[in-house]
Symmetry: C2
Subunit: 208 residues, 2 copies
């Protein structure tokens, strides 16, 4: 891994199931060579088309619990009967090497990441109408009505934490690229926030 100047920034993109996070993060990754994706681990069954090590690390419950006990996860959560977790070492190493990292945990996971990395930038994604969540989950045809009802209830619970995030991006169904542009602007702008500059960098600039 090439060492770049200064530590990288960690962007955490979260929000309810059906908000369109996966597509947005795909779009963002495609535009940024320097932005690495932190792949989550899960014990849930892969959905059609999902690839191990790309979309998730699909682990059986024994292996997940073994890694969890060894401190291998930044955060873990039990969601609809499955375990999810954010592997710690990849993020640590990528940030130290100067790469920006984007991670896509559920909302509680995002808050846990913020506790571990207070400098992380938390971005909450919602559709322009909450009612779109149900239609998108139904269109996936991967869950029962009971599971969808549970997810929608969770979505409202999750939204109560929106003020703990740094940004709220609204993913408009009619203009999907717009939210990717918004994410791209956030990734670019955050680099210039004044608290990102150490005193040594300011001194160096003034003396140059």
């Amino acid at each position: 891994m090439t060492v770049l100047t200064g530590p990288g920034l960690l962007f955490v993109v979260s929000g309810p199931s059906g908000a369109g996070k996966d597509t947005l993060v795909e779009g963002l990754k495609a535009r940024h060579e320097r932005l690495l994706y932190s792949v989550s681990a899960t014990t849930r069954t892969p959905r059609e088309g999902e690839r191990d090590g790309v979309d998730y690390f699909f682990l059986d419950r024994d292996e997940f619990e073994r890694r969890m006990a060894a401190g291998g996860f930044l955060e873990t959560r039990d969601y609809n009967g499955n375990l999810y977790g954010t592997p710690r070492s990849f993020i640590d190493e990528a940030l130290r090497a100067g790469y920006d990292v984007v991670s896509k945990p559920e909302v509680n996971g995002a808050l846990a990441v913020k506790r571990a990395f207070p400098d992380a930038v938390l971005i909450f994604i919602v559709p322009d109408k909450f009612s779109h969540l149900r239609s998108r989950l139904e269109a996936r045809r991967t869950e029962t009505n009971e599971q969808i009802a549970a997810r929608l209830e969770i979505a409202h619970d999750e939204f109560t934490f929106v003020r703990r995030f740094d940004y709220l991006v609204i993913n408009e169904e009619a203009q999907p690229l717009r939210a990717v542009d918004d994410l791209e602007a956030i990734v670019r702008a955050e680099r210039y926030r004044i608290h990102r500059y150490p005193d040594t960098r300011l001194k160096e600039l003034e003396d140059s």
Copy 2:
């Protein structure tokens, strides 16, 4: 003036003389229809090519002081023997009508604007090398060596306030468009910061 949804945002672009603020703000204005420029007033003599009402409102000292006494300025300052000020009513009206506004006062003026509009976004501009300030001021051929020396001393004094700003953008001599892209990203990203959303807007989203 068409009324848009929600109040606009006020962006204050400042930094030492010779940092390249004028060119950057020109570039930014050209990209944003909805971004209005707040023209400052001054008693100084116009430089070659500067137009009244476009670059500055050029006022004689009596007229400036009359308006100042009437509360017409958001902030005023005495700089190198000339008075400068930010007219208040234009910014008030534009923000209320939902337009974003960009203003370009000196550093002390920027801090005064922040006191009047705590939600304003303050952006400090510096060249990639401080030594470029001198060469740019010399290239203008509009000031004596004494005036340039005074401006450079002021530049260092101004930089001590950089941590009161929200962003620091470095204007690289070799890549002038890059800083315009940075400003554009900041203008876009700020709209999505969580504190920009009133509770009523969040409730409306959740109920939609």
